[in-house]
């Protein structure tokens, strides 16, 4: 296991310590164990709070999307593990500005159980909450069971849209509606070229031959839907985009946001090769990329691989997507 770490058991806490040391103007601790973080200055009176959370190992997801025009707070779990309901509750309390709190996170069993428990506790504390689960990974369940799909890089679009809505003062139900609409309007799919290694486990979650890739991979080290032989950038891009478009069925002439996301070890150069091919395919389908997002937005530690996310935009989503946002990990002007 080749990692720049100390004691694996301290990995997450030391990372958080580093982040709080680096970005005090943006983030502050909201619990004694520092596993709940909120924007410096939170809560914001009259504004809906957005709390997200999940396992560590996905930077910038999750805590990197706490910022202006983004989320208000986050609960940070161990690597690939849910935060506890107490940690989520701490983030909730510090994010609540009187207008309620949206729980916005990826659809994973552990997270769902803990967020639901936190919602029960928040209710006891008279904090209104709503929950929107992101379930954008197109191959993780068939279309009939679309709600069972897991959340991957599309979470970033949900944060962006919901965060902009909350920033302009939308109500909790309206922020939740827009987050849910974002989820309905997007799909993602990824491939993995190498496995990931949990610091505490020290072993790769799976092994891959020199010329193999995992197709339909998530971001928690779980294997993909099937294994195939390694393909060219063009073919991989076609494969991902084809599955996404077949499920999403965007109308000709659609405007979209397109994300080409690196899983961790894949060089940025390679992501631009994928973007190039994606643009060729989309141009042919008369689909316009309103805004590209190319880089590492949701990672899986040192996994090599990439995912594509397509979000179909309408007027209301475009406006929110285009709003400025700022966090130490994500800037849009």
């Amino acid at each position: 296991m080749k990692k720049i770490i100390n004691n694996p058991a301290d990995f997450v806490d030391e990372m958080i310590e580093g982040i709080l040391l680096a970005h005090p103007e943006s983030l502050r601790s909201a619990s004694a164990d520092h596993r709940a973080l909120v924007r410096t200055g939170a809560p914001f009176a009259g504004k809906v709070g957005i709390v997200t959370g999940g396992g560590s190992g996905h930077l910038p997801v999750f805590l990197g999307y706490v910022g202006e025009g983004l989320c208000t707070g986050v609960a940070v779990g161990n690597v690939f593990s849910s935060p506890s309901s107490e940690q989520i509750l701490s983030a909730t309390e510090s994010a609540h500005g009187g207008a309620g709190v949206l729980y916005l996170y990826g659809n994973y069993g552990g997270d769902v159980f803990n967020f639901d428990l936190a919602a029960d506790l928040a209710e006891l504390a008279d904090i209104e909450t709503a929950t929107v689960l992101v379930s954008d990974d197109v191959v993780s369940a068939p279309k009939e069971r679309a709600a069972d799909r897991r959340g991957v890089a599309g979470m970033v679009f949900a944060y962006k849209i919901a965060g902009a809505a909350a920033a302009r003062g939308d109500s909790l139900s309206e922020v939740a509606r827009l987050a849910e609409k974002t989820n309905q309007c997007m799909r993602s799919m990824g491939v993995g070229l190498s496995p990931t290694i949990l610091p505490a486990a020290g072993e790769p979650t799976f092994t891959l031959g020199d010329d193999e890739m995992e197709i339909g991979i998530g971001i928690h080290g779980e294997p993909g839907v099937h294994r195939g032989s390694l393909e060219t950038a063009d073919r991989i891009t076609q494969r991902l985009l084809h599955e996404i478009l077949a499920d999403l069925e965007p109308a000709t002439g659609s405007r979209i946001a397109l994300m080409v996301n690196g899983m961790g070890a894949t060089p940025t150069e390679e992501l631009y090769l994928m973007y190039r091919r994606a643009r060729q395919i989309l141009d042919e389908a008369s689909i316009t990329v309103h805004r590209p997002y190319i880089g590492e937005y949701a990672t899986s530690l040192e996994m090599a691989g990439a995912s594509i996310t397509v979000l179909v935009l309408d007027e209301e989503l475009t406006k929110l997507l285009d709003a400025p946002a700022y966090s130490p990990f994500f800037q849009q002007r």
């Binding site: 593990s81 994973y108 069993g109 072993e203 799976f206 080290g221 779980e222 294997p223």
Partner: protein
């Protein structure tokens, strides 16, 4: 069984669980994210410490509450949340008890299973821990393996605890084998779809290992 004896058996059982971490990591890695080893080892250690921290006067309900809370928060994965939540639900069934008999054990098992099924929206055959847990409770009720509907046969003497545990272990084992060929319907394992076929459910195996360790420490 008195609290002092129960605590001692549980402490030793929990202490031996981390030895299964690597097996559980591998099983979970094949279907999910490989963190079940950490969930079970960290959860067992935390639970053990929670028991130590309890006053000697603690009743069975307090014990289950402490263990449920510790197990669910140590590494709050799906399995942690479901088992931990199940134990919290079970705590209510033995309120004030300073000893547990078989009826209490059945109530606890039923409460855990019911709560997991509720929270996990899972049923028998979904290839989860429930596929081992629920059938094994029939052995606890005194029913014979494979005939969960038949009443406790009155012509055989009531089995002792060790025999019951042996039967539960055998049932769990058989159920894991029987469901290995199925496709996982819940949790992370469901996302790999057809690829889950042929791999035993890691949560069910964790339950089996717990029963086996409990059996080992019961007799001593």
């Amino acid at each position: 069984m008195k609290m002092v004896e129960l605590r001692s058996i549980l402490e030793r059982t929990l202490q031996s669980m981390p030895a299964h971490a690597d097996e559980l990591r591998k099983l979970d890695a094949a279907l999910g994210d490989g963190d079940l080893g950490i969930t079970v080892s960290a959860g067992s250690s935390a639970s053990r410490e929670a028991i130590f921290a309890l006053p000697q006067s603690a009743d069975a309900s307090e014990l289950l509450m402490a263990v449920g809370k510790a197990f669910s928060t140590a590494n709050p994965s799906t399995f942690a949340a479901l088992i931990g939540g199940g134990l919290l639900a079970a705590a209510k069934t033995v309120h004030g008890n300073t000893a547990l008999d078989r009826a209490d054990a059945i109530a606890i098992g039923d409460a855990v299973a019911t709560r997991i099924a509720e929270r996990g929206k899972a049923q028998l055959g979904d290839k989860t821990v429930l596929d081992a847990l629920i059938p094994s409770l029939e052995n606890l009720r005194g029913n014979r393996l494979g005939s969960p509907d038949s009443p406790n046969p009155s012509d055989s003497p009531a089995p002792d605890a060790a025999e019951v545990l042996d039967a539960m272990i055998a049932t769990s084992h058989a159920q894991i084998d029987a469901t290995t060929g199925l496709q996982s319907a819940k949790g992370r394992a469901a996302w790999v779809q057809e690829r889950s076929v042929g791999h035993p459910d890691p949560g069910a195996v964790a339950y089996l290992r717990f029963l086996q360790e409990l059996r080992t420490h019961w007799s001593r």
